[in-house]
Symmetry: C2
Subunit: 221 residues, 2 copies
């Protein structure tokens, strides 16, 4: 045990933890693997770069847990979690993401992932997460925890926009005009205008540009 990390759960393990890594950046994948395998109680049984390969790897190796990036090219880590949970309901997941937006984090946690660690966190936090999750607990990195607690005081934050409003925002972000949106959703152009106004009010963005940036930041695009 090389690292000076206080991980209580570690000592209870009698056999190595089998891990599947998912990240679409090959170099990071290799680095992460090296990092994890420094600890000889942990074993990376497969490291893949996309969702289909990940599903196959999980099916083949039946790992103890899956550590996945959130941004995975065409589809995302969320869809990997969703698909896997259907096929292997007891599979454990740690999401390793660069996003710390409250809204996004909450959405991911709702999918039932067991841990959430930021890429800018330390490797120690990742190890803590691995052992906690292996031991049947959940683990949020310090920063994520702080963020979640903080968001308790701003209850609106999470569900700012209604489903309908988000639908319309997505269309706006796809360069639809009000007229086109109205036709698409079989509603009046007036209604679209109203929704649009509400979206502006709620997001506190005064311009289209700000709105698009909001949509980006909240991963609606």
């Amino acid at each position: 045990m090389k690292w000076l990390v206080n991980i209580a759960a570690r000592d209870k393990l009698t056999q190595t933890v089998k891990i599947v890594l998912v990240d679409d950046h090959s170099i990071l994948l290799d680095g992460l693997k090296k990092l994890i395998e420094e600890d000889d109680m942990l074993s990376v049984v497969d490291a893949v770069g996309n969702v289909p390969d990940a599903i196959r790897a999980i099916d083949k190796h039946k790992p103890d847990l899956v550590i996945t990036d959130y941004n995975l090219g065409p589809d995302d880590g969320l869809s990997l979690v969703q698909k896997s949970k259907r096929l292997f309901p007891d599979m454990k997941f740690i999401v390793l993401s660069m996003h710390d937006e409250a809204h996004l984090v909450k959405e991911i946690l709702k999918e039932g992932v067991n841990g959430y660690v930021l890429k800018k966190d330390t490797k120690e936090e990742l190890l803590e997460a691995i052992y906690a999750v292996r031991g049947g607990k959940m683990y949020m990195s310090t920063e994520i925890n702080a963020m979640l607690v903080k968001s308790l005081y701003e209850p609106e934050e999470g569900k700012l926009l209604t489903a309908r409003e988000r639908e319309i925002l997505k269309l706006i972000a796809q360069e639809y005009s009000n007229k086109m949106i109205a036709e698409e959703l079989f509603i009046s152009e007036r209604t679209v205008e109203t929704h649009r106004k509400n979206i502006f009010r709620k997001t506190k963005t005064g311009s289209l540009v700000g709105l698009i940036k909001f949509a980006y930041a909240n991963n609606l695009i």
Copy 2:
């Protein structure tokens, strides 16, 4: 030598290559370090997460080369290269980026970096790059090379927008109105309108939304 990589330049080295790593994601930094130090001719003398720390580390350790991420929080890898080149003109740089947009790559190469490797490339390419750059050569990963060659056939691609136009696009993306941009740059509102039209024409985006997405895709925001 554990890896089966054919690196001619490696055998000529008589002493280890001192490397400074720069990446704002702590976990990746650790992983990268492990990856590189697998090769015992390579030594990571420092690993930091932002531009000021990087400058200090370079000054202190006088490394043989610096491997830096492109996205570094507030400032970017480009500004690191620029600042460092002023202070240490002979310092060698490899940019490790997730961006493969022709426009962006060319801009980075213009700064005089010695290597460009994508995060989705293999670790072997990174090693090739390190040894090539150490040996005084330049190194572009296979994918980057292919992209550069391809862009030869589409001469417009690379320098789509002029410096001024990009300046204005950035302001547009910062929610400036035409009037505000005019005041900011000490030019007439009419001129801003003209630039704006040219930007739309060149980017082939019909709407503000498309423009903002272009700006995102080309890392102007």
